[in-house]
Subunit: 195 residues, 2 copies
């Protein structure tokens, strides 16, 4: 095999969710469809490479001049900030169109295993935004994992002394979920949070 191809397969195999086998399949596919797939892919990648940046206000990823399209959208509610773990979570919430405030994207969750301390939460920045824009409510939308819930508690504790209201997403039975198939933790949470 040509070293160029080998190097490319290695690079692909380090992408999330891919291994050596799937990377090989993808690279072969790209080479066999040079004009239809490889060329447009190259173009798309270099466009993204040249134009896409991280928003200095919320941490969203977008093509923009000064701030991302969400932070630049003045029709959104100025007094609501939603805290999310990653840009994919932000996009997932945007797809539902259920939230019309602004975002704060963390650089990671508190985790002793990954060595992430409170600095990844960028809480200084969030606190400054709250003061500057007179934010009324922070909605914490983190995963229901140990790291997510630890981070949730930490942020709540950080804003305890302030006037800002802090809420978290509800836990319970997912829509379409059957009781019989739920794990004990979910069922227990759904019972205690009944209304």
């Amino acid at each position: 095999m040509s070293p160029d191809i080998e190097v490319l397969i290695q690079k692909f195999s380090r992408l999330p969710g891919l291994g050596p086998r799937s990377a090989r399949r993808i690279v072969i596919h790209l080479i066999q469809h040079n004009e239809e797939i490889l060329e447009p892919m190259l173009l798309g990648l270099s466009k993204v490479h040249d134009n896409v940046k991280v928003c200095p206000i919320c941490g969203n990823i977008d093509t923009f001049q000064e701030v991302c399209s969400i932070c630049a959208d003045s029709s959104r509610r100025n007094d609501l900030i939603c805290v999310v773990e990653s840009v994919t979570d932000l996009w997932a919430i945007e797809r539902t169109s259920c939230f019309k405030g602004y975002y704060h994207v963390l650089k990671g969750l508190l985790s002793s295993i990954s060595g992430h301390g409170p600095e990844v939460l960028l809480l200084d920045k969030l606190s400054n935004r709250c003061k500057k824009n007179d934010v009324k409510e922070i909605i914490i939308a983190l995963s229901a994992t140990v790291e997510g819930q630890t981070t949730d508690h930490y942020i709540k504790n950080y804003f305890k002394e302030t006037q800002v209201k802090i809420s978290s997403l509800a836990h319970g039975i997912p829509m379409g979920g059957e009781l019989d198939y739920l794990d004990d933790g979910t069922l227990f949470t759904a019972f205690s949070a009944r209304k």
Copy 2:
């Protein structure tokens, strides 16, 4: 989401083995690791795009001037040709170092569903190579699927009248395979091919 990113995610999601979700994860990963991953990836892809071609003799994919590194290797046995379905199969055989002849890569297998007729087998080319290089044996190394075995029979039939010996890879119990877990077809084949 920026249209550039959306277009790139769409392109990735059409690669084999990927869907919209995994494509999104990969694109985010690329953007978040701009310098360490996206830039080398761009470089690797454009190198492969510029340099890699399909060998006019065997159909292998490689970087070369006139013929691929396998066809250019004169230390290989000139009288052996191995027929494989794809370049990945060729590479799999090369990794075992068990075969020291040349290859013939098909453009697909006979398949009424995909509409592949005998023209994808490039048998004229194979037949010409056999005459030119006085090939003694053609080894057919195709998958043990319906399409693979149909193609195997077709190639055997095509060379029936010639002096070239035709063989196929053995079928039977895979190394490390336990009898109890084998399907009936494999067990049946292993019994009838006992030696």
